[in-house]
Point group: C2
Chain length 336, copies 2
Amino acid sequence: MAQKVKLSTIAEALGLSTATVSLALRDSPLVAEVTRERIKAEALASGYIYNRRAASLRTSKSGIVGVCVHDIMNPFFGEILIAIEHELDRHRQTFILCNHYDALAKQRSFIDTMLQLGADGLILSPAIGTPASDLELAETNELPVVLIARTVEGAGAPSFRGDDSVGMEMAVRHLVELGHRRIALVGGTEATSTGRLREAGYLRALAEAGIEFRPEWRIAGPRSRHSGFDAVPGFLRLSDRPTAVCCFSDLVALGFMYGLARAGLRPGRDIAVTGYDDIDEAAIAVPPLTTVANGQKEVGRRAASALVARLGGTPFAAADELILPELKIRNSSGLD
Amino acid sequence: MAQKVKLSTIAEALGLSTATVSLALRDSPLVAEVTRERIKAEALASGYIYNRRAASLRTSKSGIVGVCVHDIMNPFFGEILIAIEHELDRHRQTFILCNHYDALAKQRSFIDTMLQLGADGLILSPAIGTPASDLELAETNELPVVLIARTVEGAGAPSFRGDDSVGMEMAVRHLVELGHRRIALVGGTEATSTGRLREAGYLRALAEAGIEFRPEWRIAGPRSRHSGFDAVPGFLRLSDRPTAVCCFSDLVALGFMYGLARAGLRPGRDIAVTGYDDIDEAAIAVPPLTTVANGQKEVGRRAASALVARLGGTPFAAADELILPELKIRNSSGLD
DNA sequence: CTGAAAGCGCTTACAG
DNA sequence: CTGAAAGCGCTTACAG
């Protein structure tokens, strides 16, 4: 590597100006076809690398979109991310991924980094406790924000997610129809809109069925496979033990089923279990998991394309966009 | 947002030069303490946002490290990524994540993007078929590359990974000790070093035990939970069916166990199963999965810190660094 | 301890 | 269709 080749290197080699070279490389019709071909050939031959920092400094567009979620390893987010990636790829946007693990400080530092890099937009599953002001900071600095999975009260940012309360209502109603009257809700927390809304759906379905809710049925907290597994012993010690368990997510349900099996109980036979999300694994689990499809693909696609549209100049449309959930009945809620 | 505030905005407000402001914000001892405080206060009050593109253009350091793996949703990579993230965070490097899904074109376009953004380094689990020249392109353009999980023949880049052949040998030897003589190897492909090395370990252990390998025992291909699940019917149709199955990864093993259970067979009782990686889920699976701990945390930590050291000026040390695997005996290989 | 000036590598009006 | 020049917002020698 003798010298770094830049626009001016190519320009000099060809006896042209950097303006012409710049235009040609970006396929401007202003440049004559033959010139353009010569320039492109020279760029290729010389191993030219486009310097996006320089371009971005000049244009104040970076082609970068930041995406920050609780945990990218969670298949629920993973499935959303694939859809986002696909959509962003189509529009030649680079996306920068980050976990915030529900730590506000980590999320803030991510937003900061995106601001410093001059990112064009942000897709966020907001960390627990995110104040609207954190999102406004971004908007104020010309960094539009789109929310996924969760929403933030008072923030102008549009939110794309499944209809959590309706979805959970479906799951509970399904269990009621199977004859269950003692139904627990395992996992999730008051601290997120998801947790609150799913709990609301659960309570509504119970009320609708004329079942009086008992506080010990609500085992709040678990949101991972492991914590779902760990919730089992406590559940089994419940006096007048529920016959059915609605889990906050598939991950929690899958862990809970592992836990039940470990304790010698057969999910779907001894205890009915439902999940939420319908991740890929749900269908092959043992037993196959009854769950609520949460539209991950739609969430990702719509969020990304709303952002892309906004970058193109179209202002955001509606505030919140809810994707209709769909109940997937399999065997974990009762073997046939 | 009236006007964007930049260094010169602060400098003017305070009657100083941009040089002083720049120095002060980066805590240079060249600037008097009082001046520094005044500058920092003004920066905060005015909502100043550091423009990293401009700085990076000038210094040709970007503070960005690119990380590209087959699939970030795979918990094996997820666990590596967490370690990388932790290490990089400590050194205030932003990391940009990407899936290449074993598509060379996608990996190439990622390397290209990193080059254009002026990334400081690259951590790569190379896509199947990666030619050494792709990595050299990066190195030539001052983008040092570190490999994880897999290696690339002929590339100068150091590679951090578990000792695949030794690990698989451990698993097979364990099954042999339990009395198995017909042992299948499910998943993985010749196309990756991981696949080749693990197969080599498997063959070595068979040979060592005086067992003659039969081609139908090698069910190549599966590398996901789903494909592990799908491999079961074919396996069950094998005449003179193996009594034990070594799986290429935990994910494959977990899917395979789902498949066995679906077919009414009890993993660990009717068929012994082992995994590879010891991901978080292995210990709570039903039955708990016997597997080979593959040192994800170490891989991530060492890869990241080798890269950071290199950025600091220390050239790479050895070529390949192998982490010693460890057999974790649980119940899937035979209930006690 | 602080300032004036050049330059990183692009793109964008503006001229011709 | 092509070129000369300014400027994006920093940092880095160099002076003083």
